[in-house]
Symmetry: C2
Subunit: 262 residues, 2 copies
Amino acid sequence: MPQKRSKFMSDKKLILVTNDDGFEAPGYRKLINLMRGLGDVIAVSSVEPMSAMSHAVTMKVPLRQRLVKEEIGFKEYLTNGTPVDNVKMGKHLFLDRFPDIVVSGINHGSNSAINVIYSGTVAAALEAAIDGIPAIGFSVNEYGRDINMSHTDDYILKITRKVLVEGLPEGVALNVNFPKFNGEPLKGIKVVKQAKATWRETYEERIDPYGQKYYWMGGVFLDGDGRPDTDEKAMLENYVAVVPVKIDFTAHELLDKLNFDD
Amino acid sequence: MPQKRSKFMSDKKLILVTNDDGFEAPGYRKLINLMRGLGDVIAVSSVEPMSAMSHAVTMKVPLRQRLVKEEIGFKEYLTNGTPVDNVKMGKHLFLDRFPDIVVSGINHGSNSAINVIYSGTVAAALEAAIDGIPAIGFSVNEYGRDINMSHTDDYILKITRKVLVEGLPEGVALNVNFPKFNGEPLKGIKVVKQAKATWRETYEERIDPYGQKYYWMGGVFLDGDGRPDTDEKAMLENYVAVVPVKIDFTAHELLDKLNFDD
């Protein structure tokens, strides 16, 4: 179905943009604008925020989608899906071929360390990587809607251009985390490991107007990783932390050690 | 708060059981019954099925929980949370200490190969592993409510007993997949790798009674992994497939190769 693309697309690079904070998030609008300088853009996001949806896909309710904007070199869809749904729908419903790259974000909040497993932003990038599509997730280590992301532009363009030109090894995506803006210029890019860290959850108990208990989850982030070359350390030193990521849960170092013989 | 446990618990092993198919799923009821033979059991599951919820946690709506059964050595809670929420709530709201083990399942459907990333069953086990709690996810490679799981009992007990006695390395859980029951006895246990495989998604378009389009996602599973020692291959040969799993998305082999210098 090559006509699907030719309707609105040039022969420029084809870029799928998504996020997990909902389509109105300033980080998402910024990423779309940056990417429109690099190629033709299909933007697919959800009406509702989808933070902490991880790699969830929608199976209990039907998926809906709506084309809300169409310009030369740009189409924007809204859905009721998760970030991973949005990548899957982008590939199969809205494009006649795989995109040249999938970029996700810019997330309001860090996806470093263990946050990678809860993150919808990184899940979207990993979902693309499963199909061999180069992909990058971008996040800033500051929460809130109106955070300063001005320090990210040049690095996002530089990293995306490099991946568009050179590609990435099959199955690999980049998880890019920016430190919170502190007024100083960033020191550069560090390629680092996912830090070993955990959340110590807390549950705040409240009583609803009908007398029933309910709970909000909160938590404290605990970085217990002493290694120097982690994403957490890189951000602390005001570097952009780039972790090459892939999906292989196998603990390979144990394959020869575990056995269940009697 | 040691009195919380002493109210109903002995000094037997403390086992947290959860799943992602909802509290009524036969695989979950079976796993609870098996575990009650091994120790004191806290069962925490959701009212609604939570398949394909991956590592999602609940942040947009408050969490609710209800104690629905209490016997000597057994408590059962229902929640509106995801499998990962249920492990977190189990640890922090329903227990005075970490359990000795978390077991999840028995899932109706395989969680081998790439399914591990979509699975709520394995996510629950990995969530426990993050905190250093030995954990196992159990799944059967057959879909439907009334599948035959009679071949799983002895192996579930054997594997769980071994982990209760020997523990697991910190951060590691076991992803255990049983082949579909085929009338023959299982050949034994194989410790294997997560197979490289993908889903080729399909979207079935329908029109709702109000004239609006909607979509159901389906797909075809593609195992393109030629290696002999994968979970998919083990199940094909009628072995129980055990993959030791951990959360580290870092593509370590690329750390020295990627660079963003000008």
